[in-house]
């Protein structure tokens, strides 16, 4: 295994450009590479921007989804490296799992490490997990696992079956209605660095085969968790499945149901009932 420690987060627009240029000619197995940053300190102004966009309160511990923002640029760097077997354009984020083992203080110095694993066979292609581990003072405090689907790709011989089903129960009771404006993607792109063109405008989304711009899945996840502020366990796991794209603008309904000390929840089109995101929150 090779582990590379970066001094600064990689520049995301450049990575997305490189990803587009180097999409062809990829293959093989996952690289045995880890990317890391050490002693990362959260910028209070950035945290405040993120909290506003996702509707989290500004508090003394980080929103559960915030560490993903520290890991994501490293994961993109890993995926755009030529050694990565799948092309980034066309990868679809289908599932995201987070385990927060303890609340993370906003002043903590964090060590972030990411890698790829579990190249798996899916009925319509292959999936891969981009994993992140965050440590504070040597103890692991946060784990993230993003599962991406590459349609038409194939995993190596002997690969396991993809694991994309989120075990969510029936959630019918609507607890909130969100009017998601057409600039929701641009606003989240600004704070997350995820400048994937499918989120930015109708025009750029069309270039990638979507009829309109679509909301970031991680924004929907964050906003769902923000709606549960004050009602989440300190040590918590959040497993979310991204189903149908949420086209912008939209009016959607959040449904929640208390289950086993946590919550099952879903975000659906208010009128259409189309399921965009389902989530399972549990104490750990």
């Amino acid at each position: 295994m090779t582990r590379t420690v970066l001094d600064a987060p990689p520049a995301m627009p450049a990575l997305f450009a490189r990803a587009a240029l180097t999409a062809r000619g990829r293959g093989g197995d996952l690289p045995d590479t880890r990317l890391a940053r050490v002693g990362v300190e959260v910028d209070p102004a950035h945290l405040a921007d993120y909290a506003r966009v996702c509707r989290f309160p500004l508090a003394d511990s980080l929103p559960v989804t915030y560490p993903h923002l520290l890991a994501f640029p490293l994961q993109v760097a890993l995926m755009t490296d030529r050694a990565f077997p799948l092309a980034l354009p066309g990868l679809v984020h289908v599932r995201n799992r987070i385990e927060q083992l303890a609340p993370i203080g906003t002043g903590s110095a964090l060590d972030v490490e990411v890698w790829a694993e579990r190249f798996a066979t899916h009925r319509s292609g292959a999936t891969v997990d981009l994993v992140a581990s965050v440590r504070s003072g040597g103890d692991e405090v946060w784990r993230g696992r993003s599962t991406y689907l590459a349609r038409g790709a194939s995993a190596p011989e002997g690969a396991p079956e993809a694991d994309v089903e989120v075990p969510v129960g029936e959630v019918e009771r609507v607890s909130a209605r969100w009017r998601v404006p057409d600039d929701a993607g641009r606003r989240y792109a600004k704070v997350s660095g995820d400048v994937n063109p499918i989120h930015l405008s109708g025009l750029t989304a069309k270039a990638f085969g979507f009829k309109r711009a679509i909301a970031h899945g991680m924004w929907v996840k964050a906003r769902g968790l923000a709606a549960l502020s004050g009602r989440l366990p300190d040590a918590v796991s959040v497993d979310v499945g991204f189903r149908k794209p949420l086209f912008l603008p939209s009016t959607v309904a959040l449904a929640t149901s208390p289950v086993d000390g946590g919550w099952d929840w879903a975000v659906r089109g208010e009128k259409s009932g189309v399921e965009h995101v389902v989530g399972v929150v549990r104490p750990v």
Partner: protein, 427 residues
């Protein structure tokens, strides 16, 4: 209805350190700060998921969207969502008034427990649309046809783009609170040096209280702050003497940025309960809220100082409770300005004022200054308007508890609009 009343117990308090305007909490909203403060109180007293009888709190500078600020903060906190809440607003008296309201309901048996609090931000302050622009947009909104809409829109002028920024000024007089206080300071001939001395004592007392851990169970760090940002432990009369006056005019100007409270952001909360509730929950009783009184003065046309209402409220409270001004072990007189505290004390010492204005046969007399604001007050801590009452109630309750049973304390808080809220606590 309860056959007789009982005194509400003060169980404890929590606040976040107060930050200077556009300082550590520049990006925090009132709701953020109040929620964090409630969550700190919940953590301190093990109230997670529990229903408290009621939460009463408020803010002086409030966004229109925060009409239900306290309830929204409760919903975002770790308290049970079945906890009712309401907003209170009595300018700088908000926090103490909220405590009195909760205590009164406990006294009547309508509540077994309750939280009183307050929050204010001068950094994330609301700005309103320019009044002319607001009227144009209302007309546009009410227009039924395109033509009506266009004709309404034609009323827009570039100057209307300038928003209305909240000012720390009295609507009826147009004077800043400091300008009003400077008039009172001149009337009472309050000197520069005595103001600076009071200011230094406030800073030194607050710093000493932090140093001995007095605030360890009253303050929860927030967004990187562990102590009040305005606190200057090493300040001195010599240092303060160098500051130029900012309020008042000419030779007689004595009020500086040092001996006036700065604009501040912060929040506080106090847990009150019946003695039975506290015992059932295995929680301490620091003190009881014995009684309270408000007063108001005509500072517009009546010739009284804007911040002098507490001078009127205190004798009423003393008479009802059969006490003299000297029957207290501690005094908490809110330091809006050093000169305000000194003018109030001087008023109580003045036979003429006490007779003519307060209608008393004899002056209330002087107090032992060693018992005044012994753990510092607003000059050092800062004064996020609605949060000051909760800070003082919790600080005094703990002070009385430390001093032992049977100790008595007086709280006096002046407020905009010529109002005052005063109260008696007893351990």
């Amino acid at each position: 209805m309860a056959p007789q009343t009982r005194k509400a117990a003060i169980v404890g308090g929590n606040r976040i350190p107060f930050a200077r305007s556009n300082g550590a909490y520049a990006r925090a909203s009132n709701q953020d700060m109040l929620t964090a403060t409630l969550d700190g109180l919940v953590a301190r007293f093990g109230l997670q998921g529990q229903q408290v009888g009621e939460v009463a709190a408020g803010a002086v500078l409030k966004h229109a969207r925060d009409f239900n600020l306290t309830r929204e903060s409760v919903l975002g906190s770790r308290l049970s969502a079945a906890t009712p809440a309401y907003d209170v607003q009595q300018a700088c008296g908000t926090g103490l008034e909220a405590a009195v309201l909760v205590a009164n309901k406990i006294a009547l048996g309508q509540l077994e427990s309750g939280i009183a609090g307050g929050v204010d931000t001068t950094s994330d302050a609301p700005m309103a649309l320019n009044e002319d622009m607001r009227r144009v947009l209302l007309a546009v909104n009410n227009a039924k046809t395109l033509q009506q809409r266009l004709s309404a829109l034609a009323g827009i002028r570039p100057g209307q783009l300038v928003p209305e920024v909240p000012r720390n000024a009295e609507p009826r007089t147009g004077l800043a609170m400091g300008d009003h206080a400077a008039i009172t300071a001149a009337e009472w001939e309050i000197g520069r040096e005595e103001q600076d001395e009071l200011t230094v004592r406030s800073h030194h007392n607050l710093a000493a209280a932090y140093d001995r851990g007095f605030f360890d169970d009253l303050v929860t760090p927030f967004l990187g702050l562990t102590r009040d940002q305005n606190l200057r432990p090493d300040t001195s009369v010599e240092k303060l003497a160098k500051l130029k006056p900012v309020f008042g005019q000419g030779e007689g100007a004595t009020m500086t940025a040092g001996n006036s409270t700065p604009l501040t952001d912060g929040a506080s909360a106090v847990l009150l309960a019946s003695d039975e509730w506290a015992a059932e929950h295995d929680l301490p009783v620091l003190a009881h809220l014995v009684d309270a009184q408000t007063a108001a003065v005509d500072y517009v046309h009546g010739g009284e100082g804007l911040l002098m209402a507490p001078a009127y409220a205190v004798p009423v409270l003393l008479a009802r409770n059969g006490l003299t001004l000297q029957d207290f072990d501690f005094y908490e007189v809110h330091e809006a300005f050093a000169s305000t505290v000194l003018a109030t004390l001087k008023a109580w010492e003045s036979p003429e004022y006490c007779k003519e204005k307060l209608g008393l046969d004899a002056p209330l007399g002087s107090i032992d200054r060693a018992k005044l604001n012994v753990h510092g007050s607003s000059l050092a801590a800062g004064h996020p308007f609605a949060a000051t009452g909760g800070r003082i109630v919790a600080t005094l309750a703990k002070t009385l508890h430390e001093a032992g049973p049977g100790k008595r304390g007086l709280i006096s808080i002046c407020a905009a609009g010529g109002q005052g809220v005063v109260a008696i606590l007893e351990s």
